[in-house]
Amino acid sequence: MRDFLNVAALEAEGRSALRRHILRLADSKRLMGIRYSDWNLGAPTVETGIAMSSMTQDEWGHARLLYAMLKELDVDPMEIEHDRPADGYANIRSVDEPFPDWAATVAGIVIVDGALSTAIAAFSRGSFEPAQSRCAKMVLEEEFHVSMGAAWYRRLAASSDEAKALLRQATDRFLPDALAWLGTEDEASRLMLDAGVTDSGPDLVVAFKDAVRAVLASGGVDVDAVQPAEGWDAARGRGPGQPDEDTVERARGDRNRALLVE
């Protein structure tokens, strides 16, 4: 166990980098939950739909805990959660838009959720005290997501040509984003590494590849041959673009704004 980070002693650049780091994780989890919620009904079996519902709750619960960590930086989570425009979201690019089919959802569980889990595990081992105490349970809950994704990925990879093609299409779309999102070595990431908050980008990529190599190989994908996506928005710590308006309205709770009582 390393010493805790003294947040109060951070310079402005360090505070900004920590804020970005938390938002990258929190926004990704919130939008991942929305993508999962789209399959609470309409998943291939009733049991699968129930599991997706549970995973939705996990992701939203994790997002809530992560947003609350912003209080350590004197940032109001309420404003962050309910009042940001789409171009302020720091989520991994793969969840900007809905997963178009079940095969893409399965690829999303393995790759996008897998990348998130790698990042959360590193955060839980780092020097930021709230992450040490709150992220360990997230890592445990994510083990169910890994089991679900791996089993379905292997099943689809061994099924019809159409399913295999859809799975490959989604994999080819998500994997470069995940590698770029995890592997960044920009200035803010270096500050977080120096502060002991998380692991280095290359180390995160190695951990992620080790976690998904075998399951992706079942679909004929060599994770070591894939290059990270190009284009980077250093202010948000993600690839270019932003979530669509419908997604952001759902994330912010716009349609229930009149009922907000916090």
Partner: protein
Amino acid sequence: MLEITYDVFARKNRGDMLSHIGYVDALDDETAKVYAWTTYSEENWFEMCVVPRSEIIPVNLTEGPFARARGAAS
């Protein structure tokens, strides 16, 4: 879709009898664990187990779901 039926057993407290609480249809052992845990989440279970229905050996009945699953597997 080729799915396997797993029976789900659980107990609420240490020392309780392990009870049959239902079943799930799953792709494999790992998804059976996920489906059982998420489907039967109404209690804070102390222990939960899943068993492929075809592995359950009927003792006295020659008809019913367990006998059918056993017969289909053999």
